[in-house]
């Protein structure tokens, strides 16, 4: 039995300390995922809390067919997407027109001239569709592979790979445009 299996089984038996440890272990993952699509700090905390309450409610059903982190990421993904739906924010608007709109939008740097390049790129990421942001976050911050991201989001591996490539390519084009303006 590995650490996660032991932790999950303690939580399922009603051990509060184990649950607190589980939250500490995975709150970074959940806050990264939710934080990428939710900008309001109060919403972020509330949604993260709901994610972990759902984890607690369902932990006895978890059968370790996937990693615990992937299972928790699945719950976080669905909560984040549900939040966007409730706020009536467009979720899947990923087409050629999106790329044109994205490139045509003013760069955030136009209004924050003094900010560092990382902040500028992060502001550009904020403008991407939620699916792109979540795939980027899981891959680059959580070091998940295509299969794990696919499990967490319900997307086919090919789509994950395509979103990752396309999102990075769009960001690169945007950065190039910004740098060209600056020179």
């Amino acid at each position: 039995m590995n650490d996660d299996q032991a932790l999950a089984s303690y939580v399922a038996q009603g051990n509060q300390h184990a649950f607190e440890l589980l939250i500490r272990k995975y709150q970074r993952l959940v806050s990264h995922m939710v934080g990428r699509v939710v900008n309001n700090p109060e919403d972020l905390e509330e949604i993260c809390q709901d994610v972990f309450l759902k984890v607690y409610e369902r932990i006895s059903e978890f059968n370790f067919q996937s990693k615990l982190s992937t299972w928790i990421a699945t719950i976080a993904y669905r909560h984040a997407i549900n939040h966007l739906r409730k706020k009536k924010i467009e979720i899947a608007d990923i087409d050629e027109q999106f790329a044109e709109r994205f490139m045509a939008e003013d760069s955030p740097a136009d209004t924050f001239e003094e900010t560092e390049m990382d902040s500028i790129v992060l502001s550009m990421i904020d403008k991407l569709p939620a699916q792109y942001k979540i795939v980027l976050t899981l891959y680059h911050l959580e070091d998940m592979n295509y299969a794990e991201i696919g499990q967490a989001t319900g997307m086919p591996e090919g789509t994950v790979k395509n979103y990752l490539f396309r999102a990075r390519q769009l960001l690169k084009e945007k950065v190039k445009t910004y740098l060209a303006k600056e020179v």
Binding site: R28, H32, F52, L53, H79, D118, R168, K172
Partner: protein
């Protein structure tokens, strides 16, 4: 494989391709390693674990009123039937006895709708 795919792969593997595209990609990859600005409070884990366990321990008033009400209703009905020598062969009950399956079906439908209502209309953010 397109040039963009090649550059992305090379940077991921730690390579240092040259050119303006590669330079822009390096900036993107570096930024993607940055964590999101908003962080959860330090006591987040403790607060959530307490809330989860308190919710579990808290008394379920819904069930209390449902089963309590049902119990009281059955007791009062039994007492009324015994006290009044009531039979189902009078008045409206005599009429309804010809449609007993319909009455049972209607009661079952109302109960089902109530159950679905409770299941579907959950609290916000609890839709996993």
């Amino acid at each position: 494989m397109s040039e963009d795919e090649l550059i992305q792969q090379q940077i991921e593997k730690g390579g240092t391709p040259g050119g303006t595209d590669a330079d822009a990609y390096r900036l993107v990859f570096r930024a993607l390693k940055n964590e999101h600005g908003e962080k959860l409070p330090d006591d987040f884990a403790r607060k959530v674990s307490i809330r989860a366990f308190n919710a579990k321990k808290s008394f379920d008033w819904d069930k209390f009123f449902l089963f309590g009400g049902l119990f009281v209703f059955l007791c009062v009905s039994a007492y009324a039937i015994l006290a009044t020598q009531f039979t189902f062969n009078v008045g409206a009950f005599q009429f309804l006895s010809g449609y007993s399956y319909f009455v049972v079906f209607a009661i079952a439908m109302v109960a089902l709708l109530q159950w679905l209502d409770k299941k579907i209309l959950k609290t916000p953010h609890a839709q996993f």
